[in-house]
């Protein structure tokens, strides 16, 4: 049933004759995933919300470019990842603006509240610290490595799908994922030794 619906949406998108009601269905089916990826990449719920909206708006405006060569999900994730990349670039630029005194905006690095994983308080604390360590380690990765790590482990995409989203070779994705896991592991070890 799921596949039939996916095919119907894909056909509608490929024919470029999508009504707003049909597109609402696309939004409803993919908004959580797009939001989640943006949330992990940006660490900011408000920015993730705003860019999720922007992602679907762009998708609608560029429906004529969707040729059906990849899945709707892959296409939307590609838009989302590009938006996150642009956002990071702008954020860096605004950092320099703030640094040079051209802007009074406060840097908004948000502390994410992680849910307590277990009923045992001591165990919860350890696990929360562990999650925080991975989270911090992931954020020290390069934007592309972070994206690959997120798509692989949070979204559980295949390496070939990640390659399509990022427009890379599968081998390159694998190499970068290897490096990012290695770096996360090293950070975790450093954390344990503290």
């Amino acid at each position: 049933m799921e596949n039939v619906l996916n095919d119907a949406i894909r056909t509608a998108l490929t024919s470029n004759a999508v009504s707003i009601a049909e597109f609402d269905e696309v939004v409803r089916r993919h908004q959580k995933r797009v939001y989640r990826v943006l949330f992990v990449l940006l660490r900011d719920p408000d920015e993730a919300d705003s860019l999720t909206q922007e992602c679907f708006l762009r998708a609608y405006q560029n429906i004529d470019r969707f040729r059906g060569e990849c899945s709707v999900q892959t296409w939307l994730l590609r838009i989302a990842v590009n938006l996150a990349k642009d956002h990071e670039r702008n954020r860096k630029f605004s950092f320099w603006k703030r640094f040079l005194g051209f802007s009074n905006e406060e840097m908004h690095a948000r502390a994410i509240e992680f849910p307590a994983p277990g009923p045992n308080p001591e165990q919860s604390l350890i696990e929360r610290a562990q999650v925080q360590a991975v989270w911090d380690a992931v954020h020290e990765l390069s934007p592309q490595q972070r994206t690959i790590f997120t798509l692989r482990f949070v979204e559980e995409l295949e390496l070939s799908e990640i390659a399509v989203v990022l427009g890379l070779q599968t081998g390159s994705v694998k190499a970068q994922l290897f490096r990012s896991v290695h770096m996360v592991r090293r950070k975790l070890k450093e954390q344990q030794w503290r």
Binding site: F23, F39, V40, P45, Q53, Q130, V131, F178, H182, V184
Partner: protein, 170 residues
């Protein structure tokens, strides 16, 4: 940095990155690597679960978000249609104005041809006669004067000038 050079490390990472038969074989045989791999996999899984839970929201959040996307798309569509309507109207108005200008523009009249009469023939004959009486052709007169000036015969040029004057007097 000692961690980087551990030969077992690659096997642990390979097993996490993708399916690797050699890595899996190694993990089956190597207890420290297996526990290392389990620990790392558990940390990543905990991170993944936390990311999923933290990014999850109640239904009203998704409903509001979908509604906002819908309204943004609708407004873009409406403004796009309004823009197309305005452009079409402007182009139509421009075409009408151009048509009116073309219709109102004065039709170029053919220039009236000069009547060639007997009087002009007579003047032409007189002109030919005058030209024949000159020492130098009319077109070369300025050059002649210039040559005379350069050769420094300013005083000698007087007779020529007077001669010319006498020609004109005739």
């Amino acid at each position: 940095m000692a961690i980087d050079k551990d030969p077992h490390d690659d096997r642990v990472l390979e097993s996490l990155v993708g399916r690797s038969i050699s890595a899996e074989d190694h993990l089956l045989a190597c207890e420290p690597c297996r526990s290392e791999q389990n620990l790392l996999a558990a940390s990543i899984r905990a991170f993944s679960d936390a990311a999923r839970e933290t990014s999850d929201h109640p239904t009203h959040f998704w409903t509001r978000q979908a509604a906002q996307i819908h309204s943004r798309i609708s407004s873009t569509r409406t403004s796009g249609m309004a823009f197309r309507y305005r452009m079409t109207s402007a182009l139509a108005a421009l075409a009408i104005a151009a048509l009116l200008l073309l219709l109102r523009a004065p039709v170029p009249q053919p220039e009236p041809q000069l009547a060639i009469g007997s009087a002009s023939d007579h003047e032409l004959l007189l002109e030919v006669e005058r030209a024949l009486q000159r020492d130098t052709p009319a077109a070369l007169e300025p050059v002649t004067l210039l040559v005379e000036d350069i050769s420094g015969t300013t005083s000698d040029s007087a007779p020529s000038f007077s001669k010319e004057q006498s020609h004109h007097a005739n």
